[in-house]
Subunit: 109 residues, 2 copies
DNA sequence: TACTAGTAATTAGTAATACTGAATACTGGT
DNA sequence: ACCAGTATTCAGTATTACTAATTACTAGTA
């Protein structure tokens, strides 16, 4: 899918929150999961800006662990504020997507 | 709904395209329709930047008509390129919303 | 040894978009 | 004379994802 970047604004962070909520994970793995999900053009740098923002906003706990596949990994888990943010994200998503779909399905005049 | 502005990026232009496709309309009326749809905080200035972009990208035809309710209105209609853009928007929306909902509904591990 | 590929984090700079907060202008009513 | 509603316009701002790269660790291989 080409040029969806503008439509990803706001939702990509929510996706990252959701992925982290499934269990402790790190940037590179999050990137892979997003690509598997279908957002094939997402790269590490993009996810990094999001995880950095989550750190800055105190939504995650961090633990650095060594890896036998490469350099050490920075594992993230959601704290209480992060889970609140995730809940708020889904609420916003449900709101917006219902409105958009309402518009989409309206009978043309 | 508070602070949904980031999630509106990319989709608001699509909504405006869809509204114009329903029939000749103008900025102020588009704003009202978006507010009726539920995007209550959208203001004229925001819609203006979008209609200006549509003009600049040659996606609309323009006709200025006098009004008996105030200053003259700038009516927009989609041209062929605009209709293509609208189709592309819905394709992207369907793609992204299906992926997000897939993520949302996945069984937590 | 030198090299390549895969894993993993990091960063400065850019582009695109919606929002802020206003100015201008036209009409009708009090 | 004033105000509310209608209607367009615009300079500046904030936020976000992307670009394009650097650094570093491990394992395989020529």
């Amino acid at each position: 899918m080409e040029n969806i970047t503008e439509m990803l604004k706001g939702v990509l962070e929510g996706c990252v929150l959701e992925i982290i909520s499934r269990g402790e994970t790190y940037g590179y793995e999050i990137t892979q999961q997003l690509r598997e999900l279908g957002f094939t053009d997402v790269v590490e740098g993009t996810v990094y800006t999001i995880t950095m923002r989550l750190e800055k906003n105190n939504l995650v706990e961090i633990e650095k662990k060594p890896s036998n596949m490469g350099p050490p990994r920075k594992f993230y888990t959601l704290n209480a504020a992060g889970q609140e943010q995730l809940k708020a994200f889904w609420k916003k998503w449900d709101f917006i997507s219902s409105k958009i779909n309402e518009l989409k399905s309206k009978i043309k005049s």
